[in-house]
């Protein structure tokens, strides 16, 4: 906990310390205006009793002026705080956007996206509310206490007794409030997880005719969850009620004490001179503000906890192992000369082992199959050839040059990859294939990939939106569309990873036919596979992991 606090101040707070300081000063200054406003009110009303009615106009003007000033100061403090939070969120989010796709960590993309988009904003209340509440609670109650003591030691004593008790409850309440908000987050989280679970099974539920039943069951579970949550909230709210109780009792005692003093029934509690009506009203108006900073801090307590938990996730993501690619992935002129490729003594380092890659050579227009059992390193070999994983030793020679940081971008400008599992973004098929391609190029590429009939079958043809579930495209169709995409990129060397995995023989034949046509069209091919039908169709076969 100590170290997480230090980390928090170094990473989140220190860069915006100046803004936070300014906001703290503005906010405290705004709080200090209240005694003056209260004084104006008390002075005017006490004048009503003594017949000095002229005071009212001045007092009302002063009071309104104070209100305007205090509102402006608070507004300015808010601007500083928003700025601080905005900067922090922008910085952390940009870091995630610029890192997570380039250097892959073993974390699900959905988790990373949730952290960057939904969880980072949780830093905002921590930065904007908690810190200012801390500054205010350190200064304002002390000032108001001193002012109260100046007029009456009994009223001061009431606040002094009720005040320090508050930090004692604060610890308790802080924990309870944290528990309460956590509970509620968990409740909503659980209900959302249940909803997601049901929605993603909805096709089944619907086909089983179980929508009504499943909804009723959901309701029962939600009800059980509610009962459990309310049991916790009942206790959690009780402890925060104690805080309010103390402040209510404090204010009521001050009011009653002042009233009895003014009546002359209580003669002690002030210094020398008897408490007047003006002083009494002033004390009454001051008392609630004495407790307000404590209540603000209590309300901001769980913002801090939420912020720290986001920070912990950021730190964890920073320390996960990552694999970076060679080069910068900038648009570069392609390497010159005919396509050649040679691997010699190359190996890729994983965190727990070194994976040796096979030695082989490939010349322009050749097709080559990488074969071997799963886990032998077929996919890794393809990735190493594309410069997507760095080598631990050995070398890969491409077009007569060593594949390294300087040549990787230019080499990649000549190759395309057909991955095993497709990823369709939320865009039209046309944009996914190649937004710049003309109709003729699209037609040729789709025919080459045996994919033209797929497009004809789709409801809106090339303008069908695929969405992440593929918009009704089957596995074999997705493979052929990916091949068409590779063709459209006009790259000469095509790397394909298990192009026939999970396909029935007929569909697999179509995919193999499209690969053969690629070769006939002059492409070079490297295919990772364990399907005999595929490596039978290639010129060369290389064993991986032997």
């Amino acid at each position: 906990m100590k170290s997480s606090r230090r980390l928090a101040s170094a990473r989140i707070i220190a860069p915006v310390a100046r803004q936070l300081r300014v906001a703290g000063v503005l906010s405290v200054t705004s709080g200090l205006i209240w005694p003056a406003q209260a004084g104006a009110l008390a002075w005017a009303i006490s004048g009503w009793v003594t017949g000095e009615m002229t005071r009212t106009g001045i007092a009302a003007a002063l009071f309104i002026l104070g209100g305007v000033l205090s509102a402006l100061l608070t507004r300015a403090a808010g601007a500083c705080l928003f700025d601080a939070a905005d900067r922090t969120i922008a910085r952390e989010r940009a870091a995630l956007i610029l890192r997570e796709a380039r250097a892959r960590a073993d974390v699900s993309s959905a988790e990373v996206a949730a952290l960057a988009v939904q969880k980072l904003p949780l830093l905002q209340p921590w930065i904007t509310r908690y810190h200012v509440a801390m500054v205010r609670v350190a200064i304002l109650p002390l000032v108001l206490l001193a002012v109260t003591f100046w007029f009456s030691w009994v009223a001061g004593l009431v606040l002094l007794v009720a005040g320090p008790l508050i930090p004692v409850f604060m610890a308790l309440i802080g924990m309870a409030a944290e528990e309460a908000s956590r509970r509620q987050m968990v409740e909503v989280g659980t209900m959302n997880a249940m909803l997601m679970d049901r929605l993603s099974a909805m096709l089944d539920i619907r086909l089983l005719g179980a929508v009504e039943n499943a909804s009723a069951d959901f309701q029962d579970r939600a009800e059980a969850l509610r009962v459990k949550t309310m049991r916790v909230l009942r206790v959690a709210f009780l402890s925060s009620t104690v805080l309010e109780l103390f402040s209510a009792i404090g204010v009521a005692m001050v009011a009653v004490f002042v009233g009895f003093t003014l009546l002359g029934e209580i003669t002690f509690g002030s210094w020398g001179t008897q408490l007047g009506l003006g002083e009494g009203l002033f004390l009454l108006l001051i008392a609630p503000e004495f407790f307000q900073p404590f209540r603000d801090l209590a309300a901001a307590w769980h913002d801090r906890a939420a912020g720290l938990s986001v920070l912990a996730e950021l730190e964890e993501l920073d320390t996960t192992g990552r694999v970076a690619f060679l080069g910068t992935a900038r648009e570069t002129a392609p390497l010159r000369g005919p396509i050649t490729l040679a691997l010699s003594g190359a190996a890729v380092a994983y965190s727990d082992r070194i994976l040796p890659l096979p030695d082989f050579k490939l010349n322009t227009g050749e097709s080559l199959a990488l074969v071997g059992p799963s886990g032998a390193g077929k996919s890794t070999t393809l990735e190493a050839i594309a410069g997507l994983v760095p080598l631990a030793r050995g070398r890969i020679t491409v077009c007569g040059k060593t594949l390294d940081e300087d040549t990787a971008d230019a080499w990649r400008a000549r190759i395309a990859m057909v991955p095993q599992t497709p990823h369709f973004a939320d865009q039209t098929l046309r944009d996914w294939l190649d937004p710049d391609a003309d109709e003729a190029a699209l037609r040729i590429a789709l025919e080459l990939a045996e994919a033209d009939r797929i497009v004809r079958r789709l409801p809106d043809g090339l303008d069908t939106r695929l969405g992440e579930t593929g918009g009704g495209v089957s596995g074999g169709e997705a493979r052929r569309l990916m091949i068409a995409r590779a063709v459209l990129s006009r790259r000469e060397l095509i790397l394909a990873d298990e192009p026939t995995a999970d396909l029935d023989p007929e569909t697999a034949q179509l995919v193999i036919a499209s690969l053969k046509r690629l070769k006939d069209a002059g492409h070079s091919l490297i295919v990772a596979t364990h399907d005999p039908a595929v490596f039978g169709a290639m010129d060369l076969t290389v064993e991986v992991g032997s």
């Binding site: 009110l41 009503w48 009793v49 009302a60 796709a101 909803l195 096709l203 959901f218 009620t241 009704g472």
Partner: protein
Amino acid sequence: MKALLPIIRLLLTAEPKSMIRGAALSVIVLLMGAALLGLSGWFITATGIAGLAGIGIAFDVFRPSAGVRFLALGRTAARYGERLLTHDATLRALAALRVTLLRRQVGLDARALARLRGEAELTRIISDVDALDGVILRFVLPGLAALVTHLIVFLALAWLAGWAVAAAVLLGYVPVAVLVFWRLARQSIVPSDQVETQSQALRRGMIDMIRDRQALILRARITAREADLLAIDASTRKMMRALDLSDRNAIAALSVLTAAVTGLALLVGAAFVGQGALDPATGAIGVFVALALAEALPPFARGVADFGRMAGAAKRIGQAPGPIPATAVRPDAKPDEPVLSVDTPELALQLEAGKAAVLTGPSGGGKTSMLMQIAGMAASEGVFILGTRVTEWPDAELRNIVTMVPQRSALIAGTIRENLSLSGETKDEEMWRALAAVALDDVVRARDGLETQLGEGGTGLSGGQARRLTLARALLRKPKLLLLDEPIEGLDDATASRVLTGIRGMLPEAAILATLHRSADHPVFNISQKIDIRR
């Protein structure tokens, strides 16, 4: 607002009793706060006057000071009750909103339902539902409580201190506050909705970028994609800045308003006290009440600032289709007709009770969409169930006749028993029979039996086991027509054969139509049909 109204009604009626009590308590909390400060101010001023006049002994101190204590304690207690009741009602409303959403899905077709499995679609729905969770607690209740409190305070002040003082407070607060809120709503309605939609776009964009990274790196497009995402983020944050500014302006305007109304109450009070129409203590009540009313307004401002987001979410959620309209004609099952009769350009097939047919053909050949048509989940021509066009069957009755196990079938988190009884209560021995039919009884028995717990989406079972559990679930429906899309995918040959035989054994009377890649020559099948729409 039009889109939001049905949601508000739904949330309010989820548990009207605790909602009303919670709302009443929110008003009471505000009223007691105003009364506490008003009474204390009156008490001190009155005691001050009495002390000066030297009639302190005659002054009734007991009732006012008891009142101050009562209000102080009562307010705390009311606040506790308010929190409990409103949270309770909100939790119920949250559940009601989600249940309604679930029920709505009944009207979607197969394509739309399959899309629901996508992460982006699911997170969009969840995010929208989350936005709507705040409608009551942050928008409706604070707004209503503030309005009612002001009206009651107006009447009380008029009775205590006269119409003029009351009017100064009410007319000072209400019109200007309405103006401030109206301005805030107008300024924030567009950006707050856009912040939500852009956040969802950013989230989807990040997932897309990470999953498609290899292609992006190979095509040297990753820098451009990163720049796109940074641009979305920049414009989202720009809109958040605009929102924050409107929010801060509104809050500042409200605190200036408090100061102005308090000042006004002071001036009006003084005028009446000066004329001798009011005694100073009563005149002061208006000032203190005006101060206390300040706490009624800011909570509502937060809800108003979020209004655009809520309204946008309500529009998106509301777009989901309602239940399928009930068909006017009530078809009678014609027992002489075949259970299934298909006569389309792609397929001609008649299936009697007790017969089983297999559909073969390459993937993408239209087998799945043919099954979906038969199941009434996609538009169809020439498909008849028990002699009636499938599209003319009311949904509920069709589901009792036809059950389909789709290819990528899903389980839910919970026990095996809960998964099996998804469509209704079943006896244990029936469940065990169904499990035995799909050769899963030994696996389940070796774990915790029917109480075996599965994770989200049914994790905890292997792919083949999960597949068989969805088959068992369908068997328990005892359909007249069972449609199976690749039922033995992921099963080894021996298990596949056992499962096919088991299904037939459990439902001897049912007509079965299955699509298969292999084992199409299994003795269970009497009819074999090849389907390939590409010819």
